[in-house]
Amino acid sequence: MTTMSMVQAINSALDCSMARDPGVLVMGQDVGYFGGVFRCTEGLYDKYGAHRALDTPIAEGGIVAAAIGMGVNGLRPVVEMQFADYIYPAIDQIISELARLRHRSGGEFWAPVVVRAPSGGGIRGGQTHSQSPEGIFTHVCGLKTVMPSNPYDAKGLLISAIEDDDPVMFFEPKRIYNGPFYGHNNSHGGPSTWATHADGEVPEGHYTVPLGKARVVREGRDVTVLAYGTMVHVAEAAIAHSGVDAELLDLRTLLPLDVESVAASVQKTGRCVVVHEATRTSGYGAELVAEVQETCFWHLRAPVERVTGWDTPYPHAFEWEYFPSRERISEALKRAVACD
């Protein structure tokens, strides 16, 4: 056991997977010699060579298409999109091909491709380095969608994703690549680096965290908070800040959603707040509200509220006003428990 940042944990997941299976390779822009703009593939080029830490042209659609062909030919490519914002040129290959191949071929062909993409705000990247497009992919049948919130899960989920025979969209919240994050001023009192966070303790070897299973971060009685990625930590801070006895679920996998855990919690608490950084309208939060409403209607004692990014592009100068802050979540929690 050692401590790792999320970047190191992802790197370790790739390393373990490449060591165990010669069919695993990483590919993408600047992932080879350079080790990736966020350093997630650092060292893999030296260790596994230019063929397995494969630099590519700047053509997201071509990268995913090539990965699909490789997947059909027995490899397990792990594609890095330099930013989730740049996934759109590849979306036809992802939606029309990668997601559908097994079904349309009656099970004859499939491509076990993982698409990794740093997402969310946190680097003052403005509207084209801050997006959270995960909701779009949850609308596409045939894709699994994952977003870890800490190093331990990141490594275990990524290894699961690589070993999974279905395609997986793996979103990495870049804001917590190098340390946990609790909101604007980081004044939660929690550990400020992964090195001192419990979930920063990561085994060096192979292990998996199953896809499709949420994690109860904190038990509580009065309201359920559904969150994933960075927002898990901000929600944790908001719970502390608000003094509300909330139960916090880290969904980890968005599709397939762990409906059982969600329903069990909301049926217990009778209230629910959904949090994500993505824009609000038709975001994944809408699906969560719909799901909760359908499975827990008779238990609900307050409207399920969404705390999300605004329905605007992510503005460079106003990251903090855009970001679903500890305060906004905290107010939603208080509104929820005020209902009875």
Partner: protein
């Protein structure tokens, strides 16, 4: 120039447009015009070494590899060494495809299929290419290379069962007719989305090189579909990583109602390959021998580590795009007859007769035989179920294969369907 606006509404002056808009080789009421096609004589092109530099193929990319001359003789350096028996195999496959197409088209007209697409006039492309490739080579076709399946020996009954989505459909009723998939025959699942397979084929070939294997990939795309970004991606990746892949463009002059001039930019498609530093060849797609020879050459290049080859196959789509359109609505009805490269079946037949290896009578007999066998196959297929009456796959099977293992939420949806059934 814009026509002037006429309407019940007040009509402001239209712009005096200077935009260039490409033209068609013909429109209804106009005479066909294939003047702009460059068609050199058979035997005129050199055949370079396998390790030819891409730039040295400029002549091949702008010219046209042809082997069969007007008399049906095989001439020039590209003439392949094919035995009469193999040539007869080729002829049989082409006739078989044609008989199949005719039957299926008629069945669609009778409402037994929801849709169908013929490859009439283009049979040499898929048949000769499949014969020049190895069984272990992976095929990434479009909907217009059904000939590949014939050469690789797929039972017609299976193809028909797919087309009518019956209980014998290996695609479980999920896909429209003609979007075949056949793993056993290394024939990749055809996508409804044009050109996506082109860049996937390159990835497949990269994986073959990555694994140190000798199998190559071959991909096809239509003239119109070359406009899709996937074709760019395919060429870029194939050239960058010297992937062992054949990138074929089947230039049959039309993309539904849109002429090739909306994709060719006024030069040959093969020329585009040169820009990506890929050896590129333009070949008479209605000349069985030429298609075979170019494919054999390109495959050998790929297998021996010389990377991709870009091949334009010049041919003509004699039938409509599909059962959904009537080509007389957008091109001169005598255009097919004016096509200068003739009919691939007639040309190979002429060659075999010239060699003394075939006769009109044998030909007529073969046509009859194949027609009868296709009819028998059709009977066998509908015995396994029809589109409208079934039996089909169980309805609930539509929830399978979305994922390898069905997640709980899909099981719940499936249960609802099963309850209703």
């Amino acid at each position: 120039m814009n026509s002037s606006v006429s309407s019940t509404d007040a009509a402001p002056v239209a712009y005096a447009s200077k935009l260039h808009v490409p033209r068609a080789s013909s429109r209804p009421g106009e005479p066909p015009d294939f003047q702009s096609l460059m068609i050199p004589a058979a035997g005129a092109q050199d055949k370079p070494a396998f390790d030819v530099a891409p730039a040295a193929t400029a002549e091949l990319a702008h010219g046209l590899v042809r082997v069969l001359d007007d008399d049906g003789a095989a001439v020039g350096p590209w003439a392949p060494a094919l035995s009469p028996a193999r040539l007869r195999d080729g002829l049989r496959h082409m006739l078989h495809v044609r008989a199949y197409d005719d039957r299926m088209f008629r069945m669609q007209r009778q409402g037994k299929l929801s849709f169908y697409m013929k490859c009439t006039g283009e049979e040499a492309v898929a048949v000769a290419q499949a014969m020049a490739l190895d069984a272990g080579d992976m095929l990434f076709p479009t909907y217009r290379q059904q000939g590949l399946l014939f050469v690789r020996g797929r039972p017609l009954v299976d193809m028909m069962c797919h087309c009518i989505s019956n209980a014998g459909d290996n695609l479980k009723g999920r896909q429209m007719p003609v979007f075949y998939s056949w793993k056993e025959g290394n024939f990749f699942s055809i996508s409804g989305n044009l050109a996506t397979q082109y860049s996937q084929a390159v990835g497949w070939a990269m994986a073959s090189a990555y694994k140190g294997e000798d199998h190559i990939a071959s991909a096809w795309v239509g003239d119109g579909s070359t406009a899709e970004a996937d074709v760019h991606n395919a060429m870029l990746f194939a050239s960058t990583y010297k992937a062992p892949v054949l990138l074929n463009v089947v230039n049959n002059q039309w993309a539904i109602s849109t002429p090739q001039s909306f994709a060719s930019t006024g030069t040959t498609f093969a020329a585009r390959g040169l820009g990506f530093n890929i050896p590129s060849v333009r070949v008479d797609g209605n000349d069985f021998l030429a298609v075979y020879a170019v494919t054999e050459w390109a495959a050998a290049r790929a297998r021996n580590g010389h990377g991709p080859t870009f091949v334009e196959l010049l041919t003509y789509r004699v039938a409509g795009h599909s059962t959904s359109d009537n080509p007389d609505g957008y091109r001169a009805s005598d255009e097919a007859a004016a096509w200068p490269l003739g009919d691939p079946v007639a040309r190979l037949k002429q060659h075999l007769i010239l060699l003394g290896e075939w006769s009109e009578q044998q030909h007529a007999e073969l046509e009859e035989e194949l027609k009868a066998s296709v009819a028998a196959d059709w009977k066998a297929a509908i015995a396994l179920g029809t589109l409208e009456e079934g039996p089909h796959w169980p309805v609930a099977s539509m929830f399978e294969d979305v994922f390898k293992e069905m997640p709980a939420y899909l099981k719940r949806q499936q249960a609802i369907v099963e309850e209703r059934a």
